[in-house]
Symmetry: C2
Subunit: 232 residues, 2 copies
DNA sequence: CAATAACTGCGTCCGGCGGACACTGTTTCT
DNA sequence: AGAAACAGTGTCCGCCGGACGCAGTTATTG
């Protein structure tokens, strides 16, 4: 499994010399999978469903991909794509742009939240995101472990916002959940006074952009404090 | 569905007057499910498997739980349990203890990472964790939205650490993944200079406690800066 | 006491899933 | 002209979540 994923994501992809030309490509398969997952979620992506989309039978897919897990790994690489060019400015501006870009990826492909839990092997594109974030911290005086920890921290924050953004999305049955939470608070709010007070004084639409920016600034403030302490 | 979850998590649980005594209890079912998920992961938990553990047939479980999703919701509530009593000290000490306790929960029940993606209705225990964290921030001068954002930020960090802790766990096939990542860096490290440099200068075992503490201190530093700025 | 209503647990069946395997047809090498 | 390598397909298996109806049990009602 780990071997298969590694060959799929990192190559080489030996193209056969004899036999019929393959009608599909790895990239085409991954793109079709991303399309389905974007529209209907990761659970709607079955081999059968994907094969129908591609006009083939489901077993033909196994000529390209060893199994579903490897397919998803390929889709992740396709969906996140390569990290964008770093923004101009200091490390703080660069990490801000990086975080917002990552949040955009999660917004466009919410199923990435499901696909990237659990231990897995990262592909070139996913690694390029890490690389860009780490590069922004070069020369700040942080140790290697600290730079890694800082990037993980940023990533977790963006993930968390994406998670709650998906939960509070006004579309679909999620709205019922929010209504249910409201009902819970109306009935049992006495047991949670701080929560009740915080929710009451929070704006209604609970803007996700605000939440992303808030956490981002706290993290960057914390990092800046450490960096200047080290330098000074 | 949302209705079912709400009745399961928040009650009331009307106990029938006529008919045979139920051989099982919701709590017992949830505990058995937690045991299985702890030992073999959430994917190993099927209705069949759970019924075998309880010495019943699988269909009998549907007398207690409407479906698998509701069962998992119940298991989440059981596994996280109620939030521990807040530590003594200021908001910073309290949030530190809270975060470490939450990290402990994720360490004991790694499947919670899988079970708590996606929109869902929180139960009393899960809400009690939010309540405790928010209560620690009472009187800090932060707005309600800011307090909520801060708690989400902390939760995301703990989640992220738990996620990477599970990935780099020395046990099982995850070790192969780390070995594979090392092989990738050996082959393609040239394309990721900052990553290579950070990993080279990081200690080998990449201590998770260090990562948890690092992010925690950055977040709390960032919050403290905001709080003192508001107060001053 | 008997009848009945409510309830638990079980057996059967269904559609869908990921995947193993053997087979046919196609292409390019020796 | 083989023969080897390869693509796509059809069939089959075990497992999953879940719908449904049935048999046995218990407390209420007449």
């Amino acid at each position: 499994m780990a071997d298969d994923v590694m060959r799929l994501l990192w190559g080489p992809h030996p193209q056969p010399k004899r036999g019929p030309k393959p009608a599909l490509t790895l990239d085409g398969i991954a793109r079709a999978g991303v399309t389905i997952a974007d529209a209907e979620g990761l659970s709607a992506l079955s081999m059968q469903r994907l094969a129908e989309q591609l006009g083939k039978t489901k077993m033909s897919l196994y000529r390209y991909v060893p199994g579903r897990a490897e397919l998803v790994a390929l889709m992740v690489e396709t969906a996140i794509a390569a990290a964008p060019e770093p923004a101009a400015g200091d490390w703080r501006a660069r990490l801000t742009g990086w975080s917002r870009a990552l949040a955009g990826v999660f917004a466009r492909h919410p199923w990435l939240l499901d696909a990237t839990v659990g231990p897995r092997l990262m592909g070139p594109n996913e690694l390029s995101w890490m690389e860009h974030a780490l590069a922004a911290l070069d020369g700040t005086g942080l140790t290697g472990a600290e730079r890694l920890d800082a990037v993980v921290l940023l990533t977790s924050h963006v993930r968390g916002i994406a998670l709650q953004s998906r939960a509070t999305g006004a579309e679909g049955p999620e709205a019922q959940l929010m209504a249910a939470l409201g009902e819970v608070m109306r009935k049992h709010g006495d047991g949670y006074p701080s929560l009740l007070s915080a929710m009451a004084s929070a704006a209604e639409p609970l803007a996700q952009d605000q939440a992303l920016a808030f956490g981002l600034e706290r993290i960057l403030d914390g990092l800046e404090a450490l960096i200047t302490r080290r330098a000074g």
